[in-house]
């Protein structure tokens, strides 16, 4: 097996991974970095983010306000020291991106422009029209080309970590183009592999968002934290789930039911704001969990528009006018026209909630390091403690650069301190990975990974959707246990190893089932309602701070369901309070002053 030796290996080359690689390279001139990804960096899912990235910018804003919005938005399940670090570092990262060439949208005089976003009290979302993730990712990718110490390993699919004496010492990956396994020896590894949205059936996520980074860390005994908190984005296209950015509402778009009524006023987000005058934290600028829950309730009343792809609300941006739509939302228009046959200049866009973001992930400390020494995680695959029970839109594009940098710097420091791992231990582990992989290549059986993937996705929608109940969750947990058995009977077609996406898809789905189990069991055990985890069963409908102001921690158990434990939440300056928006939220803010 070929060996590549570096100091830091970064797995995943989306925004968090590239930012980590650059930070490690800048931390020390001698730090050699390998940047691995199962796809070319530009294909990473960061590319699909649309609306923007948060950082305090305007004179009437403050990091305290951003802090309060984030902690309340997360229903108090955030690590407040982490949030504090985050809000005070977003701005310099946005400016850094600007200086690396990111084409942020500007005001007429050439200053940075910011827009409104859901759950944010002041406009603080930096944007590049409605392709913010695309521009951030390409800026980061192109910038990373100037660092000779960063070795990019494109289309390397990571299979497992190498570990000696409780410390990470590298990884084994499939070089897809060559069809050969490769060891990458590294004294620190940063996981930046993105979320696991694809364990659900209907999705804003790219097909690559399958979560193996989480799965690999999990199998090595690292906890997956707060996995029950899955964000449904309120505005995906029915059927495909393609994302229609929250910026549509930030710019003034409104949500209508089939009677043309702005139904959000009936769900604690009112009073109705005048058309064309969006008001922060009111109506369409409420947080995503509340908007998706309102959709669910309204659909249950029969007030939504029936489409061949299920119920839909109508997102109306027509009053913004042609010019503003073409300037601020050109990609939304292109997507609506092509994938929904609707020109938003002329007609409202049909939308419905679809799975969007994994709030939980690989548990890390504030330096992005896990309990496995030398293993770091950043971005959506991680749970550094920023998002709590519900992420605010535009906090994640900021997260990937703020914490990507933290992870890269600390990984570099860790690599410098690390001793030499035992050669024979690593070689033996690499051989084990090879044996396991060869067995998968030769696996015979009647099952198809594609069918198992679809059954898993539908079961997650049923049991762990916007609202949850114990019997449905139990059925999902049972289904996942069944699929864990059946995945071993999936046949892999006889074929060469070059770009063998048959066996790699099998590996993705196998990890997916285990991650889905962590989500379902964490959800089942959380007998309360908080943020994106809402239950309908008796005794679980309210937030219960006495018992559940705590992070769930799912631990891998071989051949069994995960073990669920709980850990404390760090509260520094914002004590838990009722989470309210609209008029009630405004009243609460006034009293607070």
């Amino acid at each position: 097996m070929d060996k590549i030796t570096v100091d830091v290996a970064v797995v995943g080359a989306g925004g968090a991974g590239i930012r980590a690689a650059i930070a490690a390279a800048e931390q020390s001139a001698g730090c050699k970095v390998a940047l691995l990804s199962k796809v070319y960096p530009m294909r990473s899912h960061t590319v699909a983010a649309e609306g923007g990235a948060a950082a305090v910018w305007k004179d009437n804003d403050s990091t305290d306000l951003h802090f309060n919005d984030t902690v309340a938005g997360g229903d108090w399940l955030c690590e407040q020291d982490v949030v504090e670090y985050f809000v005070t570092h977003c701005r310099e990262e946005m400016i850094q991106l600007e200086q690396w060439g990111c084409p942020w949208s500007r005001t007429a005089d050439g200053n940075i422009n910011v827009r409104n976003f859901g759950g944010m009290k002041v406009p603080r979302t930096w944007f590049a029209a409605d392709k913010t993730g695309f521009h951030m990712l390409h800026t980061l990718f192109q910038t990373c080309l100037k660092y000779p110490t960063i070795q990019r390993l494109n289309e390397f699919f990571v299979l497992d970590l190498l570990v000696d004496d409780g410390k990470v010492a590298g990884l084994v990956a499939m070089d897809m183009k060559e069809g050969e396994l490769v060891q990458v020896r590294a004294k620190a590894v940063v996981m930046a592999t993105g979320g696991a949205g694809r364990v659900y059936r209907y999705n804003t996520n790219a097909v690559i968002v399958t979560g193996e980074g989480m799965g690999i860390a999990y199998r090595h005994g690292v906890a997956l934290r707060d996995m029950e908190f899955i964000q449904y984005h309120p505005t995906g296209l029915p059927g495909t789930g393609i994302l229609i950015t929250e910026a549509s509402r930030g710019e003034g778009g409104v949500m209508l039911n089939k009677y043309g009524y702005r139904y959000l006023q009936d769900y604690g987000m009112g009073p109705e704001t005048p058309l064309g005058q969006p008001k922060p934290k009111h109506m369409e600028l409420g947080p995503r969990d509340k908007l998706s829950q309102a959709f669910w309730q309204e659909a249950k009343k029969g007030n939504m528009v029936r489409t061949p792809d299920g119920d839909a609300a109508m997102l109306d941006v027509r009053h913004l006018g042609r010019e503003k739509i073409l300037e601020r939302l050109p990609f939304i228009r292109e997507l609506s026209m092509f994938y929904a046959g609707v020109d938003p200049i002329e007609r409202p866009i049909p939308v419905r909630p679809t799975t969007h973001y994994t709030m939980g992930g690989i548990a890390t400390d504030a330096h992005c390091e896990t309990t496995l020494t030398g293993l770091f995680a950043a971005g959506e695959c991680s749970s550094v403690g920023l998002h709590g029970a519900n992420r605010l839109g535009s906090n994640s594009l900021a997260e990937i650069v703020v914490f990507g940098k933290v992870a890269g710097e600390h990984a570099c420091i860790r690599a410098k301190e690390a001793g030499q791992a035992r050669e024979e231990v690593l070689e033996a582990q690499a051989r084990d990975v090879e044996t396991w992989f060869n067995a998968l290549l030769a696996q015979k059986g009647p099952e198809k990974w594609a069918h198992i993937r679809d059954e898993m996705g539908l079961s997650m929608e049923d049991g762990c959707g916007i609202y949850r109940e114990a019997p449905e969750m139990q059925r999902t947990m049972d289904k996942l246990a069944e699929l864990k058995g059946r995945i071993r009977k999936v046949g892999v077609a006889p074929q060469g190893n070059v770009f063998n996406t048959d066996v790699l898809s099998l590996i993705e789905v196998a990890h997916g089932i285990e991650i889905a189990e962590a989500m379902a069991h964490s959800a089942f055990n959380r007998r309360e309602s908080r943020g994106a985890h809402q239950r309908l069963d008796e005794g679980c409908k309210q937030r219960d701070d006495e018992k559940f102001l705590a992070h769930s921690l799912a631990y891998y158990v071989k051949d069994g369901p995960p073990r669920i434990e709980y850990g404390p939440v760090k509260i520094t300056k914002l004590q838990p309070a009722k989470r309210v928006y609209g008029a009630e939220g405004a009243g609460q803010a006034k009293e607070g002053k």
Binding site: Y40, R43, Q99, G101, G179, A206, Y339, N497, V498, F499
Partner: protein, 255 residues
């Protein structure tokens, strides 16, 4: 997907088993909304799990899924099956070496991107200085060329790339041009030196098909022509201009 079916013929090639690519027909269902990427996934899920193709965002922004459809370079996620009821042949992007099935080797394209030095050069601002000032008019100069998704369709459309695999090509040139036009950058001298060569912009014979197939309307043909002009006529002037711009520190503070 739904009721109706059609035949799609897909180029198959496993380098460890096949001596050459061959065409394999598949019977697939389709409806009004079905795009080719759905169809390829349907084939992989149900008919041939060993079929390999690239795919990620499925919404025309990641650039993964470029293929030839009846000889025309296209994104699979932006190709409506209903428009091909007379028959469809799907092949890997032309002029690139094939790794397997519909997967091509993008190494050369990536090397061209790297050679263009597509990053801000010669601007020493740091975050504590605040952002550069850049007006919407200044952004408009380069913005179109910043929309490239690196899908490679323009290379598959370029007869010169077919004849000369060392050609820098339309996509990479457009990217270099994007930075040359950016008011924050001072690196055009370095980039023009790469562009202004036999395998650079001068290899282009201005067929213009690259701009026709571009799914993002980047217009790489225009970029190549503008670089030729910069290379031939204004090379010295542009260098002087760039030096002047950097000396004056015209990246002005923004609050």
């Amino acid at each position: 997907m739904a009721d109706r079916t059609m035949t799609v013929t897909v180029s198959r090639y496993d380098p460890e088993r096949d001596s050459a690519p061959y065409l394999q027909p598949y019977q697939v269902p389709w409806s009004e909304k079905t795009v080719l990427l759905d169809t390829l996934q349907y084939i992989k899920d149900n008919l041939a799990t060993d079929l390999s193709f690239r795919s990620s965002c499925r919404m025309t922004i990641c650039g993964s899924c470029g293929v030839m459809v009846n000889g025309e370079p296209r994104l699979a996620c932006k190709t409506i099956m209903g428009n091909y009821q007379q028959g469809m042949v799907v092949e890997p992007l032309a002029f690139f070496p094939v790794e397997r099935d519909l997967v091509v080797d993008l190494s050369h394209f990536m090397e061209c991107i790297e050679a263009m030095k597509p990053f801000i050069i010669g601007n020493n601002r740091v975050p504590s200085d605040g952002p550069n000032r850049q007006t919407p008019e200044q952004i408009a100069k380069y913005h179109k060329f910043a929309m490239c998704i690196n899908c490679g369709l323009c290379y598959a459309a370029c007869p010169q790339f077919g004849l000369n695999p060392a050609f820098l090509g339309p996509g990479a040139t457009a990217l270099g041009h994007r930075y040359n036009l950016d008011s924050r950058d001072c690196g055009s001298t370095q980039r023009l030196a790469t562009m202004n060569t036999q395998d650079g912009v001068w290899a282009c014979t201005f067929v213009g098909y690259c701009s026709e197939v571009c799914p993002k309307h980047v217009d790489p043909a225009a970029a190549v022509q503008q670089c030729k002009a910069a290379g031939a006529l204004d090379f010295v002037a542009s260098v002087l201009h760039c030096q002047k711009k950097c000396k004056e520190g015209s990246h002005g503070h923004a609050s």
